[in-house]
């Protein structure tokens, strides 16, 4: 214990300096790594968003900031109806995707590797084609003499053709198909994290298979439901090609309004204002969903 302290101190200080230098150079390298992504986001996201703001609060003949565009749109019944339709359509499509996706995800977790691959392949396949090609396929299927009507009339289910193409129902179906994988993947992720013995425990305590499913698996899959619903909602409310092609211009949604203002009438102020309102509404729904989702998280990290 009576060893001289000095040499030890010296070695400490030199190694400390070396450590500081190492941290500094590591930080520098990390900073360099995120530089391209940062620049990219600034140029293609932050700047355009700033321009949206700028266009939405400027009007010809008015100096400074004005809310005239917002006032005009938010008092326009047609605009409000379209906004309502967009929100409703997105909620409906999300609900359809959930109803289709939940049992599929459950099935996925119970099946062997071959069936799993089959489910993933069939549901993810539409993502590998472009929206235009996919919508065109739906036109072929939903049309007056399309696949569905041929089957319906052929089996005597209906007398004449059912009008699906260029209707809201057709768009719902087509959009639900696209959203299915975005719903399915978070659901599978959530369900795969559940210990299979949870359901076994419920059954051994006297719950039937169905009750075990509804009492245990369903509530514990809630985080996946919320994640899938948020994705699906956000993607549906901004969908453009499918509503245009399968809807055939029989109705408007927010993205088509933006397109018309920006490209057809060249009214950039109205286009920007519409886009901002859509953004705020979508963010509000997503935020609501996330708040709801936080209630369903259990285990460490909640509370």
């Amino acid at each position: 214990m009576d060893r001289p302290l000095e040499p030890r101190d010296q070695s400490l200080s030199t190694s400390g300096a070396r450590a500081r230098r190492a941290v500094w150079s590591r930080q520098l390298r990390l900073w360099q790594l995120v530089l391209p992504a940062t620049l990219f986001l600034v140029v293609y996201f932050v700047v355009p968003l700033g321009m949206l703001f700028y266009f939405s609060v400027r009007a010809p003949g008015v100096s400074g900031v004005t809310l005239v565009h917002f006032r005009k749109l938010l008092t326009d019944t047609f605009f409000l109806q379209t906004l309502g339709l967009s929100v409703r359509l997105s909620l409906e499509v999300t609900a359809v995707a959930l109803v289709l996706g939940f049992p599929l995800a459950y099935l996925y977790t119970r099946l062997g590797p071959v069936w799993r691959l089959a489910i993933l392949f069939v549901t993810l396949l539409p993502l590998l084609t472009s929206a235009v090609v996919r919508s065109f396929a739906w036109i072929v299927i939903l049309g007056k003499h399309g696949l569905i009507n041929t089957v319906f009339i052929g089996t005597g289910l209906t007398d004449g053709p059912v009008k699906l193409l260029f209707t809201l129902d057709g768009v719902r179906i087509a959009l639900a198909q696209v959203q299915l994988p975005f719903m399915l993947l978070p659901l599978i992720n959530a369900m795969e994290q559940l210990d299979p013995s949870l359901e076994h425990a419920a059954v051994s305590l006297g719950a039937s298979q169905a009750r075990a499913f509804f009492k245990v698996t369903v509530p514990l899959s809630a985080p996946g439901v919320v994640a899938g619903a948020i994705l699906s909602f956000a993607l549906t409310i901004s969908a453009f090609i499918t509503p245009v092609m399968v809807g055939g211009g029989s109705f408007n949604v927010m993205p088509t309004l933006i397109y018309q203002s920006a490209i057809v009438t060249l009214d950039w102020s109205t286009a920007s204002t519409t886009a901002l309102i859509l953004l705020v509404v979508a963010l509000a729904v997503v935020w609501g969903g996330m708040t709801l989702g936080r209630r369903f998280r259990y285990g460490p990290g909640s509370a």
């Binding site: 210990d195 013995s197 949870l198 076994h200 425990a201 419920a202 059954v203 051994s204 305590l205 006297g206 719950a207 039937s208 298979q209 009750r211 075990a212 009492k215 245990v216 509530p219 514990l220 369903f296 259990y298 285990g299 460490p300 909640s302 509370a303």
Partner: protein, 379 residues
């Protein structure tokens, strides 16, 4: 409190139960009777089919063949939630979205008990597992041992006919494990619960069970009281699996007056003959437990002995463990209590010693045709 499997009607009876996964036979013609109140442990290495057998009993897997009989009722076609069999899983499987009280109440709610009766029963069960006042916690707010106790309270609340425990202490550290072993054992005995316990930890099995069923490759190879399993293993697998033992190559030299003369490492032993008489010249494997060997400085006059050199001397607290090299290749494992009066002497590495067998009745002889049975197996 030692239930005999023969007199009473068994709570559980397995009749030639098999379960195959494709070409793999996970459970192979298992028959077992478990008497009311009995604590039976399935013990075997990982992958020997213990969990599969439990799943067949619980009804999560249909057996490929055979019958599962619960209190005289064939269960094969009864849905698992109607069997009234309680299970505690290795990772407890507590419902994370429910409080402790809701977890314990789950089975009672499924049985549609009255609300007040449920509340009372939940309190009673939480007191029983020494967790009163934890009713409103969530499982993730509890320690491993506490979660384990909630899992027990949850399953015992519904008064199952049979309790199945699948490696329930696997996730606990050593000290807590031993505490929980005692606690579960006492709780189950208090309630007179018929229990099947699964583990791959032999000490745990020996400590807790009325009977231990040793499983190997899907079969029950021996099912008996712990001390019987230890003293009289029925084959080489059990001898090797339970405790530590010297498994030594030997050769039969003949029989005389109910004794089998067998030569091991050049020394003839006269072992009391049990069951089968073997022809002279046959190669056998001789099992001697380390505690059945003694060391001495002087050559014993009354019994055969091996001359050897201590090559390893380890202190383990209560017991000294030695390895003695005899001849060229033979290694004998010897363990002696340090406090034992006549051998108060502690040996060190390099000491020359004579090794003798303490009790020849406890020496077991097996057919030598099991692959890999060599003289150095004991280490």
């Amino acid at each position: 409190m030692t239930p005999s499997p023969t007199n009473a009607r068994p709570d559980l009876r397995l009749v030639d139960v098999s379960r195959r996964y494709g070409p793999v036979t996970a459970v192979d013609r298992v028959s077992l009777d478990v008497a009311p109140g009995e604590f039976v442990t399935l013990l075997g290495p990982s992958g020997c089919g213990k969990t599969t057998l439990l799943k067949c009993i619980a009804g999560f897997l249909p057996p490929s063949e055979g019958q599962v009989v619960l209190r005289d009722e064939v269960m094969n076609d009864v849905l698992p939630h109607l069997r009234n069999i309680g299970i505690v899983f290795q990772h407890y499987a507590l419902f994370p979205h429910m409080t402790v009280a809701d977890n314990v109440a789950f089975g009672l709610r499924m049985r549609k008990r009255a609300r007040t009766a449920i509340a009372g029963r939940v309190q009673e069960m939480l007191r029983l597992v020494r967790l009163p006042g934890f009713a409103d916690r969530y499982p993730h707010q509890l320690s491993g041992g506490q979660q384990q106790r909630v899992a027990l309270a949850r399953v015992l609340a519904v008064e199952p006919v049979l309790l199945l425990l699948d490696e329930p202490f696997g996730a606990l550290d050593k000290k807590l494990r031993v505490e929980m072993q005692l606690e579960v054992k006492q709780l189950v005995a208090l309630l007179g619960m018929t229990t099947i316990f699964v583990t791959h930890d032999q000490e745990e099995a020996m400590r807790m069970s009325d009977r231990v069923a040793i499983m190997h490759a899907g079969r029950i190879v021996q099912c008996a009281a712990p001390e019987v399993i230890y003293d009289r293993p029925c084959d080489l697998f059990v001898a090797d699996f339970i405790g530590s033992s010297n498994l030594l190559d030997g050769r039969i030299r003949g029989t005389s007056a109910g004794r089998l003369r067998v030569e091991v490492a050049g020394v003839p032993l006269e072992v009391p003959c049990h069951a089968s008489v073997r022809p002279a010249g046959e190669d056998v494997v001789v099992m001697v437990r380390p505690e059945n060997l003694a060391l001495s400085e002087t050559w014993p006059s009354d019994r055969p002995a091996w001359a050897g050199v201590v090559s390893l001397a380890l202190h383990t607290g209560p017991v000294m463990e030695y390895e003695v090299v005899v001849g060229e290749t033979w290694r004998l494992r010897v363990s002696r209590p340090r406090m034992q009066v006549e051998s108060a002497r502690v040996w060190a590495k390099g000491d020359r010693v004579a090794v003798t067998v303490v009790d020849l009745k406890a020496v077991r002889i097996f057919h030598g045709d099991t692959a890999g049975a060599t003289s150095v197996r004991s280490l």
